[in-house]
């Protein structure tokens, strides 16, 4: 796999996403930490995406709630998702149905953590295991720590998208030795036009994970990357679950790539 003419296929980090057992509880948790709801919507679940669902492959609808810190406007956000079975479609009114809560069983737990530069250190773990770490010493704006059984395979995917592998700096090593011991470097991407969306992806060895990751793993299950050309990405990676939806004055188009431990959503936004 290689990038097209060495041109990056991505523009930077859009957000982390993950399934939730109780949308109200999880949203309340992050509101208490200072995040605001950007938008929420219900979407049909494409057939191809259902194959990437672990807990509820009969889901016909998904409810999304997108949140961000006021200070991260123009940068990363968090997206929480509840996939619902067909008899509850479309989801309306209260965010979580008791039946959904009973049907969904926790899977592998949190596989992705987000470390962000901030004035004061903090470590938050939400009710579904989603972990956000605020660090004062981080040398890059945002680091996503991803557990994977194959660093080589997922690293190759990141390089296809335009990421470059670099060793940690001394400062990063000092910080990350506590978060992901034994890892000496990660994959970095920054577009000069979108510096607030720069991201370091750190792949951590994980031998316990059985099977491929699913888009509805609890906690944070995948990362969403902005792209300007979803078609071009599709020429380099087999994308699944391609879907368009309209939000305010923009059209969003998403598709997924499932790696060994890495689940990547590619997001293109454009004028309708």
């Amino acid at each position: 796999m290689s990038t097209a003419k060495g041109t990056p296929l991505v523009l930077g980090l859009s957000h982390l996403f993950g399934e939730t057992l109780n949308m109200d509880q999880r949203v309340s948790y992050w509101q208490a930490q200072g995040l605001l709801i950007d938008f929420s919507l219900d979407l049909p679940v494409p057939e191809e995406k259902r194959k990437r669902l672990l807990n509820n492959q009969s889901a016909r609808w998904a409810r999304l709630v997108y949140m961000r810190f006021p200070s991260s406007a123009g940068g990363w956000g968090l997206e929480f998702v509840t996939h619902a079975p067909p008899e509850q479609a479309p989801l309306r009114g209260t965010c979580v149905d008791k039946n959904v809560e009973e049907e969904i069983k926790p899977s592998v737990g949190t596989a992705i953590r987000l470390a962000v530069q901030a004035p004061r250190p903090a470590k938050w773990r939400d009710p579904d295991g989603g972990e956000l770490i605020f660090e004062t010493r981080l040398c890059v704006p945002t680091s996503v720590l991803v557990k994977t059984p194959s660093i080589d395979a997922d690293g190759a995917v990141l390089e296809t998208l335009g990421f470059v592998h670099t060793p940690f700096s001394v400062q990063e090593m000092e910080l990350l030795k506590g978060l992901c011991p034994g890892v000496g470097g990660g994959w970095f991407f920054q577009s000069p036009l979108f510096p607030q969306r720069a991201v370091r992806v750190v792949l951590e060895p994980e031998s316990r994970r059985a099977g491929t990751p699913k888009v509805d793993d609890l906690g944070f299950s995948g990362i969403s990357l902005l792209t300007k050309d979803l078609d071009e990405v599709g020429r380099h990676l087999p994308l699944a679950g391609r879907q368009r939806f309209r939000l305010d004055s923009r059209e969003h188009e998403v598709a997924f790539y499932g790696g060994q431990g890495l689940v990547v959503e590619m997001l293109q936004v454009r004028l309708p």
Binding site: T7, L11, A73, G74, S191, L193, R270
Partner: protein
């Protein structure tokens, strides 16, 4: 309308701030008038309206700083010249 004025007109409508009149020298990025998604919209507008193709190699912040520089980028791309 020429390229520069079309870009200014688009930005005026997009930013939609009665207290701000966009002109060729209005600083778009340094003043934080456009966030990442606004920039993507702007690129989409320029590609569609002026029949050019911008790729990642064209995303130089210097070219996006104001409408005058954006118009220059459009002219370069339309004439097949490289960015920068």
């Amino acid at each position: 309308m020429d390229v520069e004025n079309e870009i200014i007109h688009y930005l005026d409508e997009r930013i939609n701030d009665p207290s701000l009149k966009v002109d060729a020298q209005t600083s778009l990025i340094a003043k934080g008038l456009l966030d990442s998604l606004d920039l993507l919209d702007l690129m989409e507008f320029m590609e569609r309206r002026f029949q050019i193709k911008l790729d990642s190699a064209d995303l130089n912040p210097d070219d996006f700083e104001n409408p005058g520089l954006l118009a220059a980028l459009v002219h370069r791309k339309a004439s097949g010249l490289k960015s920068g």
